[in-house]
């Protein structure tokens, strides 16, 4: 997506531009102020992440675990769509691969749920790489529809009677999570329990921490790719694939690896959902096409093509859904907007989010993160490091000398 170009017609626009040209503060990237801000943000994130499982209520922890899953799934889609420009509406199928791999290995072969995650990663990587084969020839709308087909076929295939010996058919699988009780305290370290209240049947904090782990891993993979040579290759493919291939980027290999990685990362939250819910059925909303659309919407609302976008998008999405979930009766709607919404007894979350999505496309096609960057740039200017002082300076000088 290209950023909207502002036209300089009319006086108010010019005034706005004048304000924009002179931010109030300037911060040097890598300077003291910038590090203080970074540390403050990091501290706030750590505080929230520690607060939720230790002090939060059970339902809050559940909600946050679901949000973490959505974050990881949207980030994986972001790598493929936001950075590489390959549209996929089949990510629910990759999510489903995670769901079913964990379910099958735990129930059929008695694996421990956490051990199945590497397996799911590999299986989804292979499937994703296979999907990239048609993506070499098919582009745009056609690719969207082929991946949509994948998302549609996957749950049907899991229900297929010929595979019922493995997947449980329409009945699905049962008892796919950990069994925590007073005798099973596997996840205590020398009597100290870092996961929150795990003793007894309360295993919710544990799954929350698994979710945090998945999000961190997926974030690090995405960051590593985006900030590397490969990341630049991805953006080149997105902006002009023909030109990219002319410049020596191996389209087949790059697309294959990105599709594979994206699929593999999307499978991890699938494993988590199997563990946390304890059951697997093909009718779960998270493995139908509707979930693919949810991932896409979260990614776009948060900010496509930015590392933090999907994380913020998923948090906002889950927040809106939770807040408006109870608005089925007029009394529960806050007074200010009650006249707007009280005529219906259906929770307005989906409608609000849809309007927000359409509105964002008009205001800021780069999502909440883009909107934030636009706004903050009016007040604070970030002065980038002068060329040649970064960590790569030594390598750069070698390259220019030779």
């Amino acid at each position: 997506m290209k950023p909207a170009t502002t036209t300089n017609s009319g006086r108010p626009r010019r005034l706005l531009a004048a304000i924009r040209r002179k931010p109030w503060f300037a911060i040097k990237s890598g300077g003291t102020a910038s590090w203080v801000i970074r540390l403050l943000v990091a501290a706030a994130v750590v505080y929230v992440v520690v607060w939720v499982p230790t002090r939060g209520s059970g339902s809050l922890i559940d909600t946050c675990t679901l949000a973490l899953g959505l974050m990881a799934a949207a980030m994986s889609l972001n790598l493929l769509l936001g950075y590489t420009g390959q549209i996929s509406l089949g990510h629910s199928a990759f999510f489903g691969i995670g769901v079913y791999t964990t379910g099958i290995f735990v129930t059929r072969w008695g694996w421990s749920p956490l051990q199945t995650m590497p397996v799911a990663f590999v299986v989804a990587f292979v499937v994703g790489a296979l999907v990239s084969l048609p993506a070499l020839r098919i582009k745009g709308v056609y690719l969207a529809l082929v991946t949509l087909a994948l998302g549609l076929v996957f749950p049907q295939m899991m229900k297929w009677k010929k595979l019922a010996w493995l997947t449980g058919g329409t009945n699905g699988l049962d008892q796919t999570g950990y069994k925590f009780d007073k005798d099973n305290r596997t996840y205590e370290i020398f009597g100290w329990n870092p996961w929150g209240n795990l003793r007894g049947e309360n295993s919710k904090p544990f799954y929350f921490w698994v979710g945090v782990g998945i999000v961190v891993v997926v974030y690090l993979i995405c960051r590593g790719i985006v900030k590397s040579r490969m990341g630049r290759a991805l953006v080149a493919i997105r902006d002009n694939s023909t030109a990219a291939s002319v410049m020596g980027i191996n389209l087949a290999l790059t697309k294959g690896v990105v599709f594979g990685l994206s699929a593999a990362m999307c499978a991890l939250p699938g494993c988590l959902s199997t563990m946390a819910s304890g059951t697997v059925t093909a009718d779960t909303e998270m493995i139908t096409v509707a979930a693919s659309i949810t991932f896409l919407v979260i990614m776009v609302v948060g900010g496509a093509g930015s590392l933090w976008g999907p994380i913020i998008g998923a948090a906002v999405f889950k927040f809106v859904e939770e807040k408006t979930g109870g608005w089925t009766e007029a009394e529960k709607i806050p007074g200010v907007i009650r006249p707007l919404l009280s005529w219906s007894d259906v929770a307005p979350g989906q409608g609000i989010f849809a309007i927000a999505l359409i509105g964002l496309m008009f205001l800021a096609p780069t999502g909440i993160v883009g909107l934030w960057k636009q706004t903050i740039a009016r007040f604070v200017a970030v002065v980038p490091k002068p060329a040649g002082t970064g960590t790569l300076a030594a390598m750069d000088s070698v390259a220019t000398d030779s």
Binding site: Q156, M157, N240, M361
Partner: protein
């Protein structure tokens, strides 16, 4: 042979609905190059409207035309208010906007008419069953080569053929059709020769939504009720049909839709032991992916020349 003919017409009538949705998609894609993800939900909204008109006592024949009118207005407004301002930014943004519209309409349907099947006598509806434009009783059969084929199936198939013929005439023998083809092939030049491209695009979106609305009404009549999840699968099949036929060929969309319906019904009917009802989806999509791998622009689509 009897069974074969019955299945053939079952498939054709099912495929006819896919073809109507696909036609809408193709008309929009030819005009502006966008995939309208909300096509199915627009049709669903119109189907709900037709049900509502029926509640108010409007006869079905008139209600269908009113529903198509609602569809036309909905499509035209979408083009003017949502698609046109944002198309300048990027085509991907338009795709996202249609997804937003998809969710908005879906929520709106649920908010207005509730999540259950309508008409629903338990909710005070006067109609017992969704009004069908064609007779749909068990004993309404016509003999074709000795087989009893349902009248509904035959008439739906005929309806699609008629619509296709009308569209063919509009595209090839009217000024509007000429303008639409001109805009599809080269928007800038057609503007230069005095075609009002914005009006043409508005009309294309309206036409597409109206045709989709007809598909929605036919399908709701076939099922006998309308609910919020009715059109999503149909939309996916419709888009698959458009993909199969080639996204810029109306004839291809019809052939794609019909063959998709027939393939599905035949496979589900004859290979029941192996495929069953759940996997017939997969068979249809395997066919499509196979076709796309050999011919990436679909059976009747024109392939694009890439320029750097």
């Amino acid at each position: 042979m009897d069974l074969f003919l019955q299945r053939l017409f079952d498939g054709l009538s099912e495929g006819s609905v896919f073809a109507l949705i696909a036609l809408g998609l193709v008309i929009i894609y030819r005009g502006t190059g966008h995939l309208n993800f909300a096509q199915g939900e627009m049709a669903l909204f119109c189907a709900y409207c037709v049900y509502q008109f029926g509640e108010w006592g409007v006869p079905i024949g008139l209600a269908v035309f009113l529903g198509m009118g609602v569809g036309f207005v909905l499509g035209a407004i979408t083009e003017v208010a949502l698609v046109r301002p944002i198309a300048k930014k990027s085509p991907f943004a338009v795709f996202i906007v249609t997804i937003g519209l998809f969710q908005l309409l879906n929520w709106l349907d649920a908010a207005i008419w509730g999540g259950q099947n309508r008409p629903n006598t338990a909710l005070g509806d006067t109609q017992r069953i969704y009004p069908s434009i064609f007779p749909k009783n068990d004993d309404d059969n016509w003999p074709i080569f000795g087989a009893d084929v349902k009248v509904f199936n035959i008439l739906v198939f005929v309806l699609v053929l008629v619509i296709t013929a009308v569209l063919f005439l509009v595209f090839n023998h009217t000024k509007l059709g000429l303008a639409m083809r001109a805009v599809a092939s080269n928007p800038e030049s057609s503007k230069l020769v005095g075609i009002r491209t914005s009006t043409v695009l508005m009309v294309s979106w309206g036409m597409a939504a109206a045709i989709g609305a007809l598909g929605g009404v036919v399908f709701a009549g076939y099922v006998g009720a309308v609910n919020t999840g009715l059109m999503f699968t149909v939309f996916i099949y419709g888009s698959a049909a458009a993909t199969l036929g080639g996204f810029d060929s109306p004839g291809g969309a019809v052939i794609g839709g019909l063959s998709l319906g027939v393939i599905q019904t035949m496979v589900a009917g004859y290979a029941d032991q192996w495929v069953g009802d759940t996997m017939k989806v997969a068979v249809a999509f395997v066919v499509i992916v196979g076709v796309l791998l050999v011919k990436p622009s679909g059976l009747f689509g024109t392939s694009k020349v890439e320029r750097v």
